[in-house]
Symmetry: C2
Subunit: 221 residues, 2 copies
DNA sequence: CGCCGTTGGTGATATTGTCACTGACAGTGG
DNA sequence: CCACTGTCAGTGACAATATCACCAACGGCG
């Protein structure tokens, strides 16, 4: 159950004086989610503020039509401000958060949050920076979706998803949801990449054959 | 020069005790912008926090290609948090804010802002709500751009831009920038609307002939 | 009046999205 | 081992949107 002193892991809490941190450690609740679990959705809104200690949270949006697009990912050390925001503003949204890996998070009650925001400039700065980060992420998504080419976006995303490996474990449908497009489109572009020797495919997996040339595609205007 | 007690106009300041409001009135600077003026841009980032007292600020994003899309509008009584965010996070962005009408705004120094955020729960709530509002606006933009049909979006936008009148004063190019699409597309869709008797056109102006039927187009899935 | 920048119209073509259908593959239970 | 089933990928036809290359109409202005 214990996860140690998590206040050490957040820029927003690391700088706080010892007594404050102890108070935090006492008041916050540790939450765990299995891989694939829904952390929040339009139906299930949390009434806490989440700080991610371990894992990756994928935030995506679903249209009425059922089509989906990934908005951004929350990594360890970051806060998920979307829920925070909507909790504070009492407004509806149609985004959902899925645990992409097993998650360990710290849930802070609304009161503790407000108190901390009031008393600690460091924490305040952390929160505002987190908001800024998400706003910028969304600006980027808008830019890509509105003006970007699909092949460029797919190449970029493949490189990102592969991390430092050469494998991306995702179905064409998964990739389509990353980009907010249709599966058929991904199939065609991947087929094209394959013909050009950039990737090879097997069921549920894409292997990057040349990161370099793929990066060149990703860079092309 | 005097604009009276502007603290009366913001939900975030209205509830503050008199002494605090007086301090605010003393420390804040009133800024005015002419219609069409650039309030902020990637080049010219303000180092203050803006609260809009009068007018409308249009926030849009420009791609490298030169294409543009309107992200949202800031109305009187609201705060422009995008600049706030990026100021606090020190990150770059490619959005810009244009005064759509003559503006009267209150510029709060970063220090005053932080102090207020620390001391006044009401103000804090106001700020967080403002962030939430923009996040949701952007979610909406993503949804529209990624999944929406152009004719539906144009109909919706025309109705919004017309307000309670039947006239929209905008060139096809202006409208294209509202939606983040190309002028030719707007020309074609408007031509179609005209053929169907929904609007009539003259140079730089669109007249809505039937709000009702236009609304039906806007509603169509 | 004629010049010229802005605005709007249009066809051709490329890209992307939608629809309908097919087959291939992996697991499951007989 | 084989039929059954659900997921995954491939493909052609067509629709919607974007891009490119023009040209025509309009309105200010010298």
């Amino acid at each position: 159950m214990a996860i140690g002193d998590w206040t050490e892991r957040f820029r927003g809490t690391r700088g706080l004086p010892r007594p404050v941190r102890d108070r935090l450690l006492a008041s916050a609740r540790v939450a765990r989610y299995a891989r694939g679990a829904t952390v929040f959705s339009p139906d299930a809104r949390p009434d806490n503020l989440l700080f991610l200690v371990e894992g990756t949270l994928r935030v995506s949006q679903t249209a009425e039509s059922g089509r989906e697009i990934v908005l951004y990912r929350v990594e360890a050390g970051e806060s998920c401000v979307l829920t925070t925001a909507c909790m504070l503003a009492q407004e509806a949204y149609n985004a959902e958060g899925i645990a992409e890996t097993p998650l360990v998070a710290v849930a802070l009650s609304q009161d503790s949050f407000d108190q901390l925001a009031a008393e600690e400039p460091t924490f305040r700065k952390f929160i505002f920076a987190a908001f800024a980060r998400r706003l910028l992420d969304l600006l980027h998504v808008v830019d890509e979706v509105a003006f970007g080419r699909i092949d460029v976006r797919l190449a970029t995303r493949l490189l990102a998803l592969a991390g430092d490996t050469a494998e991306v474990e995702a179905t064409h449908d998964d990739l389509a949801k990353e980009l907010g497009t249709a599966r058929e489109v991904v199939s065609r572009v991947l087929h094209d990449f394959q013909k050009r020797g950039l990737v090879s495919q097997s069921r549920g997996r894409v292997t990057l054959l040349s990161r370099e040339r793929l990066a060149r595609v990703a860079e092309s205007t």
